[in-house]
């Protein structure tokens, strides 16, 4: 299993989204990566498979930066307020 470090995650993001690693910091928001939502799904699933980690949609919704993503991949747990379809009933 690959160790979960910021550099390892940033390298993976760089390859998958074709963005330079030197432009990525722990504070970089996902919204600045220029990826559509399907691409982001592909990225987060790939990262979990690569780092043998697991988190849910509910946990993912609570984070917005690469640093927070590294934390989730490293096993930091977030309180789960809802299931994977929490916004379904709101629509």
């Amino acid at each position: 299993m690959t160790a979960v470090t910021f550099d390892a995650v940033a390298e993976r993001i760089s390859v998958m989204l074709s963005v330079p690693t030197d432009g990525l910091t722990p504070q970089t928001p996902f919204s600045s990566l220029g990826a559509d939502s399907f691409r982001l799904v592909e990225l987060v699933v790939d990262l979990q498979e690569e780092f043998d980690s697991m988190f849910t949609q509910a946990e993912l919704k609570q984070i917005s930066t690469i640093g927070e993503l590294v934390g989730l991949l490293g096993g930091e747990r977030r309180a789960e307020s809802a299931g994977p379809v929490s916004n379904a009933s709101a629509n």
Partner: protein
């Protein structure tokens, strides 16, 4: 749907085609990231979805029409309501629910006695693949219980099934007149078969 396609017949075939294209694009991404033994089945699934889009394109062409680009497919509304899956188990859970919905809709179309023979043949060909999709995904989800927890897997499938029912009801309310020709076979009460 007998000799001549009506505007609504054609709309529905284009809707199917568009949904299959979106399915192929989605599963192409999944095939790119999945690891281990699932690579074989997921890549097969990706190829099937692409072929289904080809079958519908050929069907529409054979019936003398040009496939029309639709602005959105069922999946677009579906993922908007259900939320994007965040891990491989959630990807397969949403796939399981969606594939059952597809089979249910194709069943309805087959039950309509006026279905054009060319359309019927296309659906029957696709259905062979769809049944396998449900089976391999169900088996994969059972295996994933060890990693994600059986309770979490069951809850995720239930949550996506609830979202699916909401989106289907919304789709029927928006496009009901388009598929009214299917008659009773198009009723919203006909839910996907849990035993598939």
């Amino acid at each position: 749907m007998t000799d001549e396609l009506t505007e609504n017949d054609l709309w529905l075939l284009n809707y199917y085609r568009s949904s299959e294209i979106n399915g192929a694009l989605f599963f192409g991404r999944v095939a790119r990231i999945v690891r281990g033994p699932l690579q074989v089945d997921v890549t097969h699934h990706f190829a099937d979805e692409s072929n289904h889009a080809k079958y519908w394109t050929e069907c529409i062409d054979d019936l003398g029409h040009v496939p029309d680009r639709q602005r959105s497919a069922y999946q677009d509304q579906y993922l908007e309501a259900a939320g994007m899956p965040a891990n491989l188990m959630e990807v397969l859970a949403v796939t399981q629910v969606f594939e059952k919905r597809v089979i249910s809709q194709y069943h309805r179309h087959l039950r309509f006695p006026g279905t054009h023979p060319r359309v019927r043949a296309t659906i029957e060909t696709i259905m062979l693949d769809e049944r396998w999709h449900v089976k391999y995904v169900r088996d994969a989800l059972l295996e994933m219980a060890a990693r994600y927890g059986g309770e979490r897997v069951d809850k995720t499938v239930e949550d996506y099934a609830r979202a699916d029912r909401e989106v289907y009801a919304k789709t029927i309310s928006e496009y009901g007149e388009r598929i009214a020709f299917l008659g009773d076979a198009a009723g919203p009460d006909d839910e996907p078969d849990d035993e598939l």
